[in-house]
């Protein structure tokens, strides 16, 4: 395209700042800016819409979200420290309960102070059954006991909370792999979902987190928490673009109903506001 017909570079630079400020990262921002560079100048009035379309096109809504029909459906929640795993499990339990499901929450965090007590309160709030071992040391044995119990009692959904862990700690990542193996031994194909909880405030390290958790245990979905703050959570787009992991839910507050299903259109609109 001739130089005089391309979008004004200052406009592109403003857009670039917006994307970087939203934590999309340099790599994904470059990809998007390169696409915009190819646009005819006469389209500049539509630039906001074009940008929205381009970002939305990055989100592959075709990735099959196969919700297992087996009972119980086992969901493992993982992620680094403090991202909102325990709280998100409480919100999800409430959501599934409103869908008429019988839910069991499992205190798989046997390490952190008051983790058991914290999840127990969420189970009470959401009307889910609770299983844990207040003196428990081994998350794999807690998971084992929970699945055994859920199979007997006929729960629809079992959600297993795990301790926050840095992907750089190999012993902790090994522990997670073991929890998965123990679950799989009891129910083939389980856990049916492994959801990585990411904090919307997290920058580029979120991409590394997703890569490592994907490599160690597999990740079937992402929950992006704390979107009620001012962070845009753009790193989740870079993760989705690189690793094709579906974005399932968004955490938008600390209350039990502060969870919404991910909608690409709404997410992109909020991103560019």
């Amino acid at each position: 395209l001739g130089k005089y017909f391309r979008i004004d570079t200052r406009l592109l630079s403003t857009i670039e700042d917006t994307l970087i400020a939203s934590d999309l990262g340099v790599e994904l921002t470059d990809i998007l800016i390169d696409r915009l560079k190819k646009i005819d100048r006469r389209e500049s009035a539509n630039l906001a819409e074009i940008l929205k379309t381009e970002i939305k096109s990055l989100i592959n809504s075709e990735i099959s979200i196969n919700e297992t029909k087996t009972k119980p459906r086992v969901i493992l929640c993982v992620g680094v420290n403090g991202t909102g795993k325990t709280t998100s499990i409480g919100k999800l339990a409430y959501r599934f309960r409103t869908q008429g499901k019988r839910v069991m929450l499992v205190a798989g965090d046997t390490f952190r102070a008051a983790a058991y007590e914290q999840l127990k309160i969420w189970a009470e709030r959401s009307g889910a059954e609770f299983l844990g071992n207040p003196k428990g040391k081994d998350p794999s044995s807690v998971a084992f006991d929970a699945i055994k119990s859920a199979l007997v009692k006929g729960h629809d959904t079992v959600m297993i909370d795990t301790a926050g862990r840095l992907h750089t700690k190999s012993n902790l990542m090994d522990e997670l792999a073991k929890i998965k193996r123990v679950i799989a031994k009891q129910i083939p194909d389980a856990p049916h979902d492994i959801w990585l909880v990411l904090d919307a405030n997290t920058g580029q390290n979120g991409i590394v987190q997703a890569q490592e958790f994907l490599k160690t245990v597999g990740v079937t979905g992402i929950i992006l928490s704390k979107l009620d703050g001012t962070a845009k959570g753009g790193a989740v787009l870079a993760i989705h673009h690189k690793l094709s992991i579906p974005i399932r839910y968004l955490g938008v507050g600390e209350q039990i109903d502060d969870l919404v299903e991910f909608d690409p259109g709404n997410f992109v609109d909020a991103l560019l506001k």
């Binding site: 403090g82 997290t202 390290n205 703050g229 001012t230």
Partner: protein, 293 residues
């Protein structure tokens, strides 16, 4: 292969011959890659721009050391300048003229305040101080219990009376005074800087406690938004020092530069793990190296 080698050698020789001084031209590529590296490290883009402009202004006209290329020289200047910026100010905990000293912790949800409260308490205990912990997080399920458990683990008393936030904190101070405990560490609930009611609560705590120290706890893996939250907490509450947590991860830690740059406040300690012992003094040169990658 040989052509490439000859071409790059030619470039270097040409650059060294041309003037032996740093010019805009001979560091253009280096500036671009430093910018990219800082953004990848999560330094806020406005902070990056300002930082690069300042360093560039400082660097232009400097004579290049014989053993370095202009590019390498400017990277060294960046490292030195980043170290200088990060370490420019230092903050040491102030003690009250009349004990107890009060330390108030604040920050976003999940950044590591409660864990840091225990780390700080253990550190003070090992310095032969007599700390008292109190959590005024009446919101998060089992938050107060979490601090009680940590207190037991490190052998530091935890005040657990009264359920109203401000009263609980002031009673803790009163308890410390009566029991001759010299420092009260107040752990608060995580909150958003845009939550008016919760920021009002912090203000009420500040007015009633008149803490000698207010520390802003921030997650080391925070991205671009670090400038917004830090500036907002500093504008609304005002803090004396910064704690950067979870630095045992492989996060580059660019939030450190963002927060220091936008608030002018110094980083005091970093969290390097989940245990009460995992607190370290802040070393600007190490963090500078890490951010620059």
């Amino acid at each position: 292969m040989l052509e490439q080698l000859q071409e790059s050698l030619g470039k270097i020789v040409k650059t060294l011959r041309s003037e032996g001084k740093i010019t805009e031209n001979n560091i253009r590529d280096t500036l671009r890659s430093v910018r990219r590296s800082l953004l990848e490290a999560d330094v806020n883009y406005k902070v990056v721009k300002e930082f690069i402009d300042n360093v560039q202004a400082k660097a232009i006209g400097i004579t290049v050391t014989k053993s370095l290329t202009p590019g390498r020289q400017v990277v060294k200047i960046f490292n030195d300048e980043l170290t200088r910026l990060l370490g420019a100010k230092q903050y040491h905990l102030k003690t009250a003229s009349m004990p107890p000293t009060v330390i108030l912790l604040a920050g976003l949800q999940g950044c590591g305040k409660t864990t840091f409260a225990a780390k700080l308490a253990l550190m003070l205990k090992n310095q032969n101080r007599k700390p008292l912990l109190v959590s005024v997080d009446v919101y998060r399920p089992a938050a107060m219990q979490q601090l009680e458990i940590l207190g037991k683990q490190i052998g530091v008393p935890v005040f657990s009376d009264e359920s109203k936030v401000v009263k609980r904190a002031t009673e803790a101070v009163e308890f410390a005074r009566k029991q001759h405990l010299d420092t009260v560490i107040v752990d608060t609930a995580g909150r958003l800087h845009i939550d008016k009611e919760m920021m009002k609560e912090l203000d009420a705590l500040k007015k009633n406690l008149k803490p000698q120290n207010i520390l802003f706890v921030a997650d080391g893996m925070t991205g671009q938004d670090a400038v917004n939250t830090a500036a907002s907490f500093n504008d609304q509450l005002g803090f004396d020092g910064i704690i950067l947590t979870k630095m045992d991860s492989d996060t580059r830690g660019g939030a450190a530069l963002s927060i220091v740059s936008v608030t002018g406040k110094p980083i005091m300690y970093i969290g390097t793990g989940e245990k009460p012992e995992n607190i370290e003094a802040f070393h600007p040169d190490r963090i500078a190296n890490r951010i620059l990658g």
